[in-house]
């Protein structure tokens, strides 16, 4: 289980590094260090889970075997199956993606069909790690499982990091934090995980701790990456950077996470529809309350340093005043638009609906996760 959690962490690190690589160096083959980290992690997961499954299918103590699920005649923990699926999906995506780039050219987009398959694979591995930690947490007697509960929170944080990375183009830059789209995408994507963690975690503040772990990991990665020297290797270079371009300051998910923990504990079970509605509204209100002022700070000169990570841009973009303006969305790379406030309230209402629906799914998922034992 710990091997899988380590591999999941490696995948998240590799992915963050990889994106930073593409934003700074550009030049790419399959054999760059970040790719190797990702795929070695995938192999590690595939092999360790495969071994676990083989061991339990053809031997192993019957007490252990009884904690497994059967699958085409083999037996293994559910998390291991999800991990194996994830690593296979990652390995499949490599030749697919490669062909894609040869057919349509190298793209800067994170969201493309082969990348989605890769991301699903990564999500599978991390979700598998989460499930394995969860089953261990749930089998342990109540109150006696801080280690497993912490591992669960850690896996949740890694999963959150992947989701944030996947939606980077819609949520990543502080310039977007005053737009409708930012709240809609965030509410739809992150509520499900925060709600599930809030319900299934056995720590005192499971969602809050998960969000803090995510923000901490993201910051540490960015602070480390921006100290790595790098030179762009592809023309045209419109912004000659000298070090790896780090991700901007992480989104402030800790605020909605805190609200989620409070609300989920207050209302308890049995009112999930009402609870989901409150969570949707709470997410947007709490997120708005912190993101709005924070974006103002992050776009100010005071944030343009290595601590707050503002004002770092890809080697290929032409710098301009758009760097310090608010955007309504990103299409085809970085396309700043005029600040749009009209319809903002309506946009937020839609975000709340997304958040509520997403939270409802998350609560159901969390209730199931609370009972997973194999």
């Amino acid at each position: 289980m710990y091997a899988v959690v380590v591999a999941a962490a490696l995948i998240a690190i590799g992915l963050t590094w990889d994106i930073s690589w593409h934003r700074s160096v550009g030049r790419d083959t399959f054999w760059t260090a970040p790719h190797l980290v990702e795929y070695v992690a995938a192999l590690l997961v595939g092999m360790s889970c495969g071994w676990l499954i083989l061991k339990n299918s053809f031997g192993g103590a019957s007490a252990e075997r009884s904690q497994m699920v059967s699958f085409w005649g083999f037996r293994g923990p559910l998390g291991a199956w999800v991990c194996v699926w994830g690593s296979l999906a990652m390995l499949t995506s490599a030749p697919f993606d490669n062909w894609w780039h040869n057919a349509y050219g190298l793209d800067v987009k994170i969201v493309s069909p082969p990348h989605i398959l890769l991301l699903l694979g990564m999500l599978g591995i991390v979700a598998g790690a989460l499930l394995m930690a969860l089953a261990a947490q749930n089998r342990a007697p109540a109150g006696g499982s801080p280690g497993f509960a912490a591992t669960f929170a850690l896996s949740g944080a890694i999963l959150l990091l992947l989701l944030v990375t996947a939606t980077f183009e819609y949520t990543g830059f502080p310039n977007l934090w005053r737009g409708r789209l930012f709240y809609q995408v965030s509410a739809a994507v992150f509520s499900v995980l925060l709600a599930a963690v809030a319900r299934a975690g056995r720590l005192r503040w499971p969602a809050t701790i998960t969000a803090l772990l995510f923000m901490g990991a993201s910051l540490v990665l960015s602070w480390a990456l921006e100290h790595v020297p790098a030179t762009p290797r592809l023309a045209p270079i419109n912004n000659p950077v000298t070090h790896l371009v780090a991700a901007p300051f992480p989104i402030l998910l800790v605020a909605p996470a805190l609200i989620f923990d409070v609300l989920v504990r207050r209302l308890g079970d049995g009112h999930d529809w009402r609870l989901a509605g409150l969570l949707g509204a709470g997410f947007v209100v709490a997120f708005l309350a912190v993101s709005w002022p924070a974006s103002g700070f992050l776009l100010s000169p005071a944030a343009r340093n290595r601590v707050f990570l503002a004002d770092q841009w890809d080697y290929s973009v032409r710098l301009g005043s758009w760097r310090y303006e608010y955007w309504d969305g990103i299409r085809n790379g970085r396309m700043p638009l005029r600040p749009v406030l009209s319809g903002f309230a309506k946009g937020l209402a839609i975000a709340m609906l997304f958040g509520a629906a997403s939270s409802r799914v998350g609560l159901a998922w969390g209730s199931w996760m609370r009972r997973v034992r194999r």
Binding site: D28, W99, N102, A103, I110, A235, R371, V372
Partner: protein, 516 residues
């Protein structure tokens, strides 16, 4: 923002591996090849010239897919070469925007040829800078490259089956996991699932399967949309039209650039920068009779405005003609426009023409073409025959009637011009001894200053100071041996027209060849 110069709107530039690139190409994936801008059906760029003290012949093999890898092959004549490096510079990126140069490797088995792959990330005009270092010092050659996306790679059959196999496995795996999750995952250790649970698991598997299939269907539509977008961004020939008008007893050929990319009140609104003269002419227009390629003309229409061009017609026989018009943009981007035109019978009174216009209706030969005064132009063909991608096939010698080698005079700034066309018109290229590149593209890429930001300023400055005039900025051999660096890109029956000037008169010779 930042609409690039002369680039078709194309999806933005990230990146991922090229592990299987070679493998996919070698296993016979076929590309959808459409026409390209710089020439028709002949995507590679050839250059012959010097890099400082070193004579070089350079081939830039177009990537076809953009962003993608272009292969550069540099052949250096002479001893003492230590290193060859190459880097692509985008027209608009400035000196700081040139990535560190890549060092070329020796081609296996050769001591004079070097090769290096270069990433071309966006369509547009580039100068590929080739630097040769050796015992005679260092020298750089600038090769203009008009980079366009021309194709989409089809999926190799084996790769397709492999991916489909993995896909099916992943689908079945996902559905099985859903089933296992519902059936057993929440049971305490040791318990076996009861029939109700098993039934629920089967329902969940069915529902999950449908859900995943719906996701896949969505993915398919998405893929189609990306594919459509990409194909829309592929280079297409610009729309153009040609027609014949009567004037003062003679016939005029009117040529119009009708493309939407060339519309707009100001240059900033247009998708491309203004035209600049190449060999002193804004447009080089070639006419080839469609039925048998037996009649050929080379005209220099003058511009009436930025879209309309006009030239008096020479006495070519009536019939339907293919029209190829070569222009060069201020960015160095070279473009060929195509059209067809029906020519009437020649008018009795021909109007005055550009003295450098030329036309030809004489015999097409295999290797020895007659010139005036009993002289001949001999194509030094090698045995056994012509092959695709075989360089160095186009060598010609002028022989006087007594068998000695004759001299030539500069014609439009070159010792000779050649037009290569496959008989179906799907391959067309205009060659000089310096290769496929436009001479003035090389000048603008070399002379551009950081202050030349407004469109038109660079072209005007270079036209005013004569840098884009008909006289070449480089020495050329005028003895009667002329060779054109080129390799035939595809099989088929070809025509080659070679134009030279002797004793003040432009003479044309027509050759035919089959490439296997």
């Amino acid at each position: 923002m930042n609409r690039g110069v002369d680039r078709p709107a194309l999806v933005g530039p990230d990146a991922r591996g090229s592990l299987l690139r070679r493998a996919v190409i070698l296993t016979g994936a076929t590309g959808l090849v459409l026409t390209t801008s710089a020439h028709i059906g002949s995507p590679d760029t050839w250059f012959e010239g010097t890099a400082g003290p070193y004579p070089v012949r350079i081939l830039v093999r177009a990537p076809g897919v953009i962003p993608g890898l272009a292969d550069v092959v540099v052949q250096v004549t002479g001893e003492g070469v230590r290193a060859v490096t190459a880097s692509p510079a985008g027209y608009n990126a400035g000196d700081r925007g040139i990535p560190p140069a890549d060092t070329a490797r020796l081609v296996p088995g050769r001591s004079d040829s070097w090769t290096v792959p270069l990433w071309i990330m966006a369509p547009g005009s580039y100068s590929v800078r080739i630097t040769v270092t050796g015992s005679r010092g260092q020298g750089t050659a600038i090769v203009p490259l008009s980079a366009v996306a021309t194709r989409v790679l089809d999926m190799d059959r084996r790769l397709g089956w492999l991916l489909a196999g993995f896909g099916v496995f992943l689908f079945v795996g996902a559905v099985t996991i859903i089933g296992a999750a519902v059936r057993e995952s929440v049971l305490p250790p040791g318990e076996t699932p009861d029939p109700a649970r098993r039934r629920r698991a089967r329902f969940a598997m069915g529902g999950g399967g449908v859900f995943v299939l719906l996701l896949l269907a969505g993915g398919e539509r998405w893929w189609d949309a990306v594919d459509r977008d990409y194909r829309r961004g592929l280079d297409r020939g610009w729309a153009a039209a040609a027609l014949v008008a009567r004037q003062d007893g003679g016939n005029l050929l009117r040529f119009t650039i009708a493309d939407s990319g060339w519309q707009g009140r100001s240059w900033e609104e247009r998708a491309a920068s203004p035209l600049i003269p190449d060999h002193g002419r804004l447009m080089h227009l070639f006419l080839v009779r469609e039925s048998d390629a037996g009649a050929f003309g080379h005209l220099h229409p003058v511009s009436l405005d930025s879209v309309r061009f006009e030239a008096p017609l020479p006495p070519l026989p009536a019939g339907r003609y293919r029209v190829f018009a070569d222009v060069t943009h201020e960015s160095g981007f070279a473009r060929t426009l195509t059209a067809t035109v029906d020519l009437p019978a020649p008018a009795p009174a021909a109007t005055s023409r550009d003295p450098d216009d030329a036309w030809f209706t004489g015999p097409t030969v295999d290797s020895v073409a007659p010139l005036a005064g009993g002289a001949t132009l001999v194509w030094e063909r090698r045995l056994p025959g012509l092959a695709v991608d075989d360089p160095g096939a186009l060598n010609f010698t002028v022989r006087e009637s007594d068998g000695s080698i004759g001299a030539v005079e500069p014609y439009l700034g070159m010792s000779g011009h050649a037009v290569v066309m496959r008989e179906d018109g799907r391959v067309y290229v205009h060659l000089h001894p310096m290769g496929t590149v436009s001479a003035s593209a090389q000048v603008v890429l070399r002379e551009r200053l950081a202050s030349d930001t407004a469109r038109g300023t660079l072209g005007r400055r270079l036209t005013d100071n004569g840098a884009l005039g008909p006289l070449p900025g480089h020495p050329m051999a005028l003895e009667g041996r002329i060779s054109f660096p080129y390799a035939f890109p595809d099989r088929g029956n070809y025509r080659i027209w070679v134009e030279i000037r002797r004793h003040g008169v432009v003479e044309t010779a027509a050759f035919r060849a089959t490439v296997r």
